[in-house]
């Protein structure tokens, strides 16, 4: 049996069960991609995992974890205008960060080709919103393909790369969470093993690359013309097809059709399979620009059509206005319930939408009620997590009316009970800006913001510099765990895994931060003191609350032969049921038994002992065998 790392780079064709994200990595190797950049974010980090599984000396491309999505995009831009086929990928909201540069790309010539992979997140499974990046495609004149399955993702990457090279435009490959993580059997092709020379092919004649005054209109004119020309590619794309699994007969004298794209197409086919109805389904997975000729004849061929798309009303509005202009006599239905603009459109959701239009053919279904014995499991910090110690300690320092500003990362979980810290959240690195705003004219309430170490570098610095400059009166706690934890432990500028470690302390010192302390979060008393001092300090103050990610640490430990499980115990002779460990510190390893006694779940506890100091009667200790 071959290892994954050997399979993904095997020059010969093979087939196997594989995840959408991993299939994209394979497609990059096959297509001869030369530069790949990203900033980690769900649902896309497994693309990087697959690329990095191949050791550097065997890896036929340059891969980079950039500081943020905008930097990643700019690297990809620089390399494509140097002639290299390039890829940049990130999560849905990553495009917001990248957009300042990304919106320019559609105006220029991507000489070597550029594919931008977007990990949109209908359902907001791991994002702060479920923004529909198809809007960006229109704004930035970037053609878009939206695969519905891992197999389609693999083929769509090849098509996107070809399209990009052919028209020298950037192409969006818009994945969604489900397509990224779905698995199925895929047949892969060959990898061209011819060695690529990184020749420096940049030439201003391939431009203009300078969108200033005189060139803005010509560039925009070219972008509009290119999108118009690419419509022909869309007409001929294998991603824009009609599925008629049960024929195209009339139902009660009418021909019925559905227009959809990406994953909902499969849900609709699933619905048809249940009732075996002869409804035609037009898939527009090459969704921008969509093929007007094909859509025109589909509308003309049908008496009634429902447009079903995940998230916003983009195809609905465009196709309806097209039908009006073309004077097409087809009844076009769209989603009537605004709830259907939210979340993933799985089979039960598309059934409901169709059922509201054609209730006879798709009758309302009865569903079993969910059991009332299933309480929600809130995502929580892991046992031993340094953030838990930090929140517990900081809480002791905070006045009850303090205002706390959250940020993106595992420490966003501090918002949940019992810590209730981080009362607002916008985006990566917003905390210092928002906290500054909250401190203006505020003489009564303390303001404290959080930021993670990866986020510090990603987008935190500009607002921190601003806070130093104006000496805004708030405290910033850097929740340092030495990795990009939430997305799967990727390295960042401060970890020392890529280049030489960039010290957050030194950066802050050199900026001129006047109050700066560092403490390990397991030293809870000291952290409480520092935060109190920081808040008493008039002006901007920073406390670096550091502890390595214990999930990452424990994964390393468990791999060692010498590893033995450790845990703490609650001495029942000492315990007075103050419940601090369970209710205030709230490590999930503590259990309250039916008799009210608190014990330790040894499967969860990692024996870090950070809980010991929280017990007012010191009833918690490492277990007696000294483990």
């Amino acid at each position: 049996m071959k290892k994954f790392a050997d399979m993904i780079i095997d020059p010969e064709p093979w087939e196997g069960l594989i995840m959408g994200n991993h299939a994209l990595a394979r497609a990059m190797f096959e297509a001869g991609v030369k530069v790949v950049t990203t900033y980690p974010g769900s649902p896309t980090p497994e693309i990087a995992d697959a690329i990095l599984s191949v050791p550097v000396y065997k890896r036929p491309l340059h891969f980079e974890y950039a500081t943020n999505e905008k930097v990643a995009t700019e690297i990809a831009f620089g390399s494509t205008i140097n002639g290299h086929l390039s890829v940049v990928f990130f999560k849905s909201v990553g495009l917001n960060v990248a957009s300042d540069s990304a919106v320019q790309l559609g105006l220029m010539n991507m000489v070597g080709g550029l594919v931008i992979i977007l990990g949109d997140d209908p359902g907001a499974n791991s994002s702060q919103n479920e923004q529909d990046n198809r809007h960006f495609a229109r704004m930035a004149y970037i053609p878009t393909i939206e695969p519905a399955t891992p197999t389609e993702a693999y083929h769509a990457f090849h098509d996107a790369a070809e399209l990009s090279k052919k028209h020298q435009i950037p192409v969006f490959l818009r994945m969604t969470t489900h397509v990224c993580h779905a698995k199925e059997i895929i047949k892969f092709g060959k990898i061209n093993t011819a060695e690529h020379k990184y020749e420096t092919l940049f030439d201003v004649k391939n431009g203009p690359f300078l969108p200033i005054t005189k060139s803005v209109f010509p560039l925009k004119r070219k972008a509009i013309a290119r999108i118009a020309a690419i419509e022909e590619d869309s007409e001929n794309s294998k991603f824009n097809i009609i599925h008629s699994p049960f024929g195209s007969d009339r139902i009660n004298g009418k021909r019925l059709g559905v227009i959809s794209s990406s994953m909902p197409v499969l849900s609709i086919l699933e619905n048809l399979d249940e009732v075996k109805q002869p409804v035609d389904v037009m898939a527009l997975n090459f969704s921008y620009p969509w093929p007007r000729k094909k859509v025109r004849s589909f509308l003309k061929d049908h008496d009634e059509v429902i447009i079903i798309e995940e998230l916003d009303r983009i195809m609905e509005n465009e196709i309806k206005s097209f039908a009006y202009d073309e004077d097409i006599n087809c009844k076009i239905h769209t989603r009537s319930d605004s709830e259907d603009l939210m979340g993933e459109l799985g089979p039960e959701r598309t059934w409901k939408i169709i059922s509201e239009v054609w209730p006879v053919e798709f009758p309302v279904k009865e569903t079993t009620a969910a059991s009332s014995f299933t309480n929600h499991r809130i995502p929580q910090m892991c046992p031993g997590c340094g953030h838990r110690s930090a929140f517990h300690a900081i809480k002791q320092a905070l006045p009850a009316d303090a205002i706390t500003v959250g940020d993106i990362g595992c420490h966003s979980l501090g918002f949940f009970k019992p810590y209730n810290m981080g009362q607002m959240l916008l985006s990566m690195g917003h905390s210092s800006g928002t906290a500054a705003g909250l401190s203006i004219g505020n003489k009564t309430r303390k303001v404290l913001g959080f930021i993670g170490d990866s986020t510090f570098f990603h987008a935190g610095l500009p607002a921190i510099i601003n806070a130093v400059l104006y000496d805004h009166d708030f405290t910033l706690v850097v929740m340092e765990n030495g990795t990009t934890a939430m997305t799967g432990h990727q390295p960042h500028a401060g970890t020392g895994e890529i280049g030489e470690k960039i010290s957050i302390d030194k950066v802050l010192e050199s900026l001129g931060v006047k109050f700066l302390k560092r403490v390990d979060t397991y030293q809870q008393k000291k952290l409480t003191e520092y935060v109190k001092e920081a808040m008493d300090h008039k002006g901007f103050a920073v406390v670096i609350a550091s502890h390595p990610c214990m999930l990452k640490f424990m994964r390393g430990q468990r791999k060692k032969d010498s590893y033995t499980a450790k845990h703490v115990i609650v001495d029942q002779n000492i315990c007075e049921n103050h419940n601090v460990c369970l209710e205030d510190f709230a490590c999930p390893s503590f259990i309250r038994n039916d008799d009210g006694k608190i014990t330790v779940n040894e499967d969860l506890c990692i024996g870090d002992g950070s809980c010991k100091q929280t017990c007012p009667v010191t009833a918690i200790d490492f277990d007696k065998e000294g483990k």
Binding site: D273, T368, T374, P379, L604
Partner: protein
């Protein structure tokens, strides 16, 4: 042949290895397979689920519709109840009986069992104990596959091949222990499937 299975449990309980073994066995049997899951925040002690579809014909969606699942295979009892809207009328709930108690408002275990026992087709199995008895506490997942094995539409030998596939690199003893766990799960479930 078409089997739609909801795999569920809590992040970190190792649903992935169940999916890998059944997936390998299905592919090895020449069947179509689609699997859907959500990664991300769910890794941090939250509930996790995976839609798993096996068929001898082409499968459209990787998502199982409500009322469509032939089986809910859960490594945690409360989690088995969360996905009941997906269960088909004749579907089976096969669940481990050991609660993963990481929330303050976990319901009374007996109440959870009562709800499971109300279902027409259910197997409530002490998979953790069985795994411990055979000397491999971490093979709870394989016990669960064993319990589900006669409902999967896949030959038992193919599941053993799947175990060899994922544990092969860790040595023969590891393979044997996990096969033993698989067989123990099967033996337990046979009492229910008569």
């Amino acid at each position: 042949m078409k089997k739609d299975i909801i795999l569920c449990g809590v992040g970190g309980q190792g649903i992935l290895s169940i999916a890998t073994v059944i997936g390998y066995a299905a592919v090895d049997s020449g069947l179509y397979l689609k699997q859907a899951e959500v990664h991300g925040m769910s890794q941090r002690g939250g509930d996790v689920q995976s839609h798993f579809r096996i068929s001898d014909k082409e499968i459209f969606s990787d998502l199982i519709p409500f009322g469509g699942a032939d089986m809910i295979l859960s490594v945690e009892p409360m989690e088995s109840l969360r996905y009941l809207p997906y269960l088909s009328k004749n579907g089976w709930v096969i669940t481990n009986d050991k609660p993963f108690n990481n929330i303050v408002n976990y319901p009374e275990t007996e109440d959870v069992y009562k709800q499971i026992k109300k279902l027409d087709n259910h197997i409530l199995i002490n998979a953790d104990d069985i795994a411990k008895e055979i000397g491999s506490p971490r093979s709870m997942n394989m016990v669960m596959i064993g319990a589900a094995s006669s409902f999967l539409g896949i030959e038992f030998d193919k599941l053993i091949e799947g175990i060899k596939f994922i544990f092969g690199r860790k040595g023969e003893e590891m393979v044997n222990l996990n096969v033993k766990a698989l067989e123990a799960g099967k033996a337990f479930a046979e009492k229910f499937n008569k």
